[in-house]
């Protein structure tokens, strides 16, 4: 109990000061600027607090903080979902969506198969979970973070050209492919349903995921439709996120996916969606930093081979993004002007990948979870380091930035 309290307090304090430093004050040495501004260093703070070093956030403490994990994951899903307002998405050409989906799917495919083979034949993991592990790696690889691009746009004072707009669109949206994939994959892992063990259990679990997401979405809409104060709105949102995410986790489903559905429902029905979004946006950064710290705390490198695996994953993701970007651009032909090296502008991995790997480690912890966590977290850090240079190189080629 004492460890949990210290852990929680440290998390809040670090998140608070980190929030102020990374998101509101920017007087940071240039070298570490981007990695620091995206808050990625909080993963390392989590590592320091975790079981391997200081030990405040050791395994029992982390288990007691399950509601906080769930709140962070649900929150990430909800805030992503509430931005998916169909009417607004329709304003941009449908080919933009095609690019998003193709580059994400190609990246997933490029990462999934080699990872699966490696996990099966080299690391000797067995059974369904190994497929899920490889799938989670693929899904996390498909995610692109938006923060680096946003910071670069601000620093380089970029004009909002169609290509920048496209990059922003892909970065803000492509996580949905991985998210939906993870949501469905978690569900399909089920071999049991309330009616016992049968082949259709996975499909039933997909239905349960949607049912929880849709119902909690309508419920949140229903109870926030009447005028309510900001404090009341806070109670409803926190309550509903905890409820939906907790139910999802109880049934070993993805709280990210379930809350994504909740958010999509909220976004597409008339009601208090703007007020909800405003409140979520205000709370986003502290929650995000807490999530990064929690991710760092679960990072446990059990074998040195995990680093080799992580390097392979990093390389596969790089190849997947480049290939995905190229194929996506080719698929839309001359309708959208974009360079074949589009994928180089999509290397930043962002918080959603971290959320996915936390989710996986929490619901399906096995002896190889450490491999997956190490691969994703180290890739997130490395990608945040290299992505500003890569984005800049793409922008130089397209003439968006002068040499």
């Amino acid at each position: 109990m004492v460890k949990v309290i210290i852990g929680f307090v440290l998390l809040v304090i670090i998140a608070l000061f980190g929030y102020r430093r990374t998101f509101t004050k920017v007087h940071i040495p240039l070298g570490a600027r981007y990695i620091y501004l995206t808050g990625t260093e909080f993963i390392l703070v989590g590592v320091a607090l975790g079981g391997q070093f200081i030990g405040v956030l050791d395994a029992p403490a982390l288990r007691s903080l399950t509601p906080l994990y769930s709140l962070c994951l649900g929150f990430m899903g909800l805030i992503f979902g509430i931005q998916l307002e169909f009417n607004k998405l329709k304003r941009l050409p449908w080919r933009y969506d095609l690019i998003v989906v193709i580059q994400a799917l190609v990246t997933m495919a490029v990462v999934f198969f080699p990872c699966w083979i490696l996990m099966k034949y080299v690391f000797g993991t067995e059974g369904h979970p190994q497929v899920l592990g490889a799938f989670v790696l693929a899904a996390t690889a498909s995610c692109t973070g938006l923060t680096t691009l946003a910071l670069l746009s601000r620093d380089l004072k970029l004009r909002k050209t169609p290509f920048i707009e496209l990059l922003q669109y892909i970065s803000s949206l492509d996580a949905i492919v991985g998210l939906v994939g993870v949501g469905i994959a978690f569900s399909l892992m089920h071999t049991h349903s309330p009616f016992g063990s049968h082949a259709g259990a996975g499909i039933l679990a997909v239905g349960i995921s949607f049912a929880i997401g849709l119902t909690t979405g309508f419920l949140l809409h229903l109870i926030t439709q009447h005028h309510c104060s900001e404090e009341e709105l806070g109670v409803f949102i926190i309550g509903m996120v905890l409820f939906a995410a907790g139910l999802a986790e109880y049934f070993m489903l993805s709280p990210l996916f379930v809350c994504l559905v909740t958010g999509i429902v909220m976004a597409n029905v008339k009601g208090a969606k703007d007020r909800v979004f405003y409140l979520l946006a205000r709370l986003e950064h502290p929650f995000y930093l807490i999530m990064l710290i929690l991710a760092g705390a679960i990072w446990n490198v059990a074998t040195p081979w995990a680093w080799v695996f992580a390097a392979l994953y990093l390389g596969l993701r790089f190849a997947g993004k480049v290939m995905g970007g190229y194929l996506a651009v080719r698929s839309v032909g001359a309708h959208i002007r974009a360079p074949g090296r589009l994928g180089l502008g999509l290397m930043s991995q962002g918080g959603m990948a971290v959320a996915m790997v936390i989710n996986f480690n929490q619901i399906h912890p096995t002896e190889y979870s450490g491999l997956v966590v190490t691969a994703v977290l180290s890739a997130v850090i490395v990608n945040e380091l290299i992505s500003p240079t890569l984005i800049r190189s793409v922008l130089l080629r397209t003439g968006e930035v002068k040499p």
């Binding site: 809040v12 304090i13 769930s70 419920l219 404090e231 926190i238 509903m240 139910l247 999802a248 109880y250």
Partner: protein
Amino acid sequence: MRRLIGLFIVIGFMLLTLIDYPAAMTYPWARTTFSFGFLLLAAYLLGDVLAGFKMPKITGYILAGIVFGPYVLNLVTLESVRDLGLVDDLALTFIALAAGGELRLKELKNRKKSILLTVAFLTLVVFVGVTLFVILARPIMPFLEGKSFVHVLAVAAIVGTFAVARSPSSAIAIISETKARGPFTEMVLGVTVLMDVGVIAFFAIVVTICQAAVSTTGGMDFNLIITMTLEIIGSIGAGLVLGWLMMLYIKHIKAELMIFIIGVAFLTTFGAKQFAVVMHDQFGVAFHLHAMLICITAGFLIQNYSPSGDTFMKKIDHASLPIYVIFFAHVGADLDIRTLEATWLVAILIVTTRCLLIWLGAYLGGKIAGDPPIMRRWSGPSFITQAGVSLGLAGIVKARFPEWGAAVATMIVAVITLNQVIGPVTFKLALSAVGETRESRRD
């Protein structure tokens, strides 16, 4: 209506979680998470429904906890309730900061006579009256059968002491909900906080005397009195230090005050617990600091000895709603309602007697202090709620008097349960009657 429908849907989901699913299909650790969300939503929605009937919202929160908690519908299991203890600890210290911050020295000085006389008469009348009642009601208390008069007197005195205790957390929640302001509110809060501190010392004296009276060796052990007195002094001292540190933070840093306050609330709970562990492990002494008293002192200091009192209270007010909701829902869920099964008749009689005596004591105190008639009439109903401290003290009785302590503690918990439900309603009624709620001020 929409919110009522929402409540039923949430309940429906919770019922689905009660099905005995195959172990391979569920992740049991997540039960606490959705139970937390459920309690937050259900308690708020029920509170909102009751508010439509002019009832205080916290009654709804408490009722939600009782009804959906482990002792009635068991939608929220005992394990989840225990896991949520962390949230409860945070909430209690946070509420204590709010209670301290609501005590404005200038107002208290103006009402000094009224507060002191009300405390004196409430303590005297309620203690003596309830003690006498228990002695007289001896035939309906099976655990007193065959006991000597000294034993009966000891039990009666201990129950009498409990009757004196009240709940600052409930009082502050009602004041916050109704946005009550005015001399009556100040007087009630002053009396409640003063009695909360006083009852710890009073309890130590009564238990020490009772222990000496019922022990076969006959000697009086003053350890409890000394320890509890030192605990009170130590807690106030720690509160002054904490308040001073918080004042420095507000003056020089000020950043994210709300999160800072929540962090302080947590750290205080942790510090108090850790202190008790160190005292026990290193010095072999059972010595506690009271986190609630520390925070009341700190809040009081900030409100009255720094220019940031209002900023501090504004921040507390912003974060208070979810904290009150989950705290009182948890209090309700934690109340072992089954105790009423065995002791309902005695509990109802004690609650009725206590209510009448509180009314009489408060009336007499107010009359002698020269309070206006309307305040005298309504101050009694403002002092009925009981919670936290009383439950903690019940645990001490259980440990100190193995022969009948458990039975008395069960009876006390039953009484507290009833008072916790009735108290907020009567307090809100009183605040409305004297015209100090925001609604009545508008009228």
